[in-house]
């Protein structure tokens, strides 16, 4: 038994380090590749000078702008987004013991997008994040009330969430078309996502909320394990299920709001990544979250790299890439191993 425990830990460490290496390679590729062709030396030169080293050739102003002002913030925003969505998916799937639970599918993402669009109208870039966080929180509260009243049945709960999400997606359109379209990003940005507008300022605003939400979710990892035994069992083991559900859903609202306000709704990350991680690392939520912190960012940064290089110089919405990759993969996973999705 002890041996199996050690083996599990060793395997987890190997998987996590492996995924981290792949993530670092993807980040390096994302810094190097793009519509503007730069040499590897130029990229290294820019980055080295940011940490105070004079390595590589003295970078041009253009290289500095492309690598540090465009590519680096969008990669960072991708990392934050991947982590926030994968954590939120893990939290919701654990809370509702439902493999289909996902922040976007349940309407939190679209709700946050409505707030993001309205927030942009009122207060520009800062307004987008704040508006999306507030709207994400409100959607989480609505969802929480639906669960409380009569939707605890698994299938019905998901259906209600999907209806909520579709209705809110329509409201994103209203918010965009009713507003000043020169100021508000287009509907496709909000509903399909994109990092082309990411800046360091945006990263700074978003990361605060994501850190708070993620910290709450990580703090709930043991309670999520207990909840896997069932709601009654969790109560018998001392979990205040009602309070815990509320706290975690609010954390999801904040984290999802903060990334939707910055990058729009990017589908399938919250749904798929936790399943992949559980497949690799097992069902304990501490390990699942550790895996999500690497594989979530890997998936989003990789998808963004594809979104801007596949049809270069044309950039396609990143949500199209995530859906195109994750949809079939999810079907394969679901068919191959019924245990993953039931």
């Amino acid at each position: 038994m002890k041996r199996a425990g050690v083996l599990t830990r060793r395997r987890a460490a190997v998987v996590l380090i492996g995924a981290l290496v792949v993530l670092l390679v993807t980040i390096a590729a994302s810094l190097y590749l793009g519509a503007v062709r730069l040499s590897a030396g130029e990229v290294v030169g820019v980055l080295a000078r940011k940490v105070g080293l004079s390595v590589g050739p003295e970078p041009s102003i253009r290289a500095e702008a492309v690598v540090w002002q465009i590519r680096a913030p969008r990669i960072t925003m991708g990392i934050i987004t991947g982590l926030a969505l994968a954590f939120s998916g893990t939290a919701l799937q654990g809370l509702f013991r439902n493999p289909m639970a996902d922040p976007h599918l349940l309407g939190v993402g679209p709700g946050a997008a409505v707030g993001g669009a309205l927030g942009t109208l009122l207060g520009g870039g800062a307004g987008a994040i704040v508006g999306a966080v507030v709207a994400g929180l409100l959607t989480a509260v609505v969802l929480r009330l639906l669960v409380e009243t009569r939707a605890t049945e698994r299938a019905r709960f998901i259906l209600m969430g999907v209806a909520l999400g579709l209705a809110l997606s329509a409201w994103v359109g209203f918010a965009v078309f009713a507003g000043d379209r020169t100021k508000v990003p287009p509907v496709e940005f909000w509903l399909l996502g994109g990092f082309s507008t990411s800046t360091w300022t945006m990263v700074g605003r978003s990361i605060v909320f994501v850190a708070a939400g993620a910290a709450v979710i990580v703090g709930g990892r043991r309670n999520l394990d207990v909840l896997a035994l069932g709601e009654a069992e969790a109560r018998h083991l001392g979990v205040d299920v009602g309070v815990f559900t509320s706290v975690l859903m609010l954390a999801v609202g904040v984290a999802v709001g903060a990334v939707v306000g910055a990058a729009g709704v990017i589908v399938f990350v919250g749904l798929l990544v936790p399943h992949v991680v559980r497949k690799l690392l097992g069902p304990r939520h501490g390990l699942v979250l550790a895996g999500c912190a690497v594989i979530g960012p890997l998936f989003v940064v990789g998808a963004d790299l594809a979104a801007r290089t596949l049809f270069s110089p044309v950039e396609i919405p990143v949500g199209l890439v995530t859906a195109a990759i994750a949809g079939p993969f999810f079907l394969w996973l679901a068919r191959r191993d019924a245990g993953v999705v039931t």
Binding site: M1, A4, R97, R222, D225, V226, A228, L229, G230, A232, E233, R235, H236, L237, G238, V239, D240, V241, R278, G282, P283, R284, G339, T342
Partner: protein
């Protein structure tokens, strides 16, 4: 001393009384069985004691406190609960699930990881599932899962242990082993209350039997006093005879319905 006290407790849904005016007292070192036909209100009574439900009338008190006045955390240090076959879809290993029984102690400064491991090992050994420790729970049989839950409940190490049909899915060997285990758990100074379908198991191992029917307690006392032909036949609506066990000093309950062959003969 009384540790569990139920006084005049009723639980009604709509106009229907599921449990009606029930009194039950259980001491600090006592193994109590609750028996009765399906729908008698046994599970509801257990849920009232566990604090899952609030009585519509009357009171429940655990170590002098009403469960509804305690925070879930405090309640979890006072009573552990086994529900019938919970855990079909649990993806964790047996050891992980049993270790989750230690969840209520995670912020207890007097507790330690070593103590947790020790309690988990003891619980695995006591329920004879040490060899299953690394199996995933959802791959086990119903009977094995029941023993995992018994182990989890033991690992929780509470003064009050409530079990709803802990032996129903078990073969005769594991049924006897589990009853003997619960008996010794009670002897260590715990209050064990179990809903049982097997009246013989109750007669052999428990200190007191509470017979319920239609939401009410029909009789309560030591097995030898409580179990008789008339009461059981009436409660179960089935001819039943109680005879002395041939070699145990306990009553033995037998179904006495004439067999189909007897009619033809």
């Amino acid at each position: 001393m009384t540790r569990v006290s139920v006084r005049g407790a009723s639980y009604r849904v709509g106009g229907t009384a599921i449990v009606e005016d029930v009194d039950l007292e259980a001491g600090e070192v006592e193994f109590v069985a609750v028996v009765g036909p399906n729908g008698a209100g046994k599970t509801t009574l257990l849920r009232l004691i566990a604090g899952d439900l609030r009585p519509s009338a009357g009171t429940v008190s655990l170590a002098g406190k009403a469960p509804s006045d305690l925070r879930p955390q405090a309640l979890a240090l006072l009573r552990a609960v086994l529900r019938p076959d919970s855990g079909g879809g649990i993806p964790f290993t047996v050891r992980t699930v049993v270790a989750l029984g230690r969840h209520p102690y995670r912020r207890d400064p007097a507790n330690s990881a070593a103590r947790d491991a020790e309690m988990v090992d003891e619980a695995l050994a006591a329920t004879e599932i040490t060899h299953l420790a690394d199996r995933v729970v959802s791959t086990l049989s119903t009977g094995e899962r029941t023993r995992v839950t018994v182990a989890r409940v033991l690992a929780q190490d509470t003064p009050i242990v409530l079990l709803d049909e802990p032996t129903t899915a078990l073969d005769i060997g594991h049924q006897e082993a589990t009853m003997a285990l619960l008996h010794s758990v009670a002897r260590q100074g715990r209050t064990v209350i179990a809903v049982l379908h097997d009246v013989n198991a109750a007669a052999a191992y428990t200190d007191r039997i509470v017979v319920m029917d239609r939401g009410r307690v029909r009789a309560s006392g030591p097995p030898a006093e409580v179990l008789d032909d008339a009461l059981l036949s009436e409660v179960y609506r089935e001819p039943i005879r109680v005879v002395p066990h041939p070699f145990r000093q306990t009553p033995m309950v037998l179904a006495a319905r004439p067999l189909p062959d007897d009619d033809e003969a």
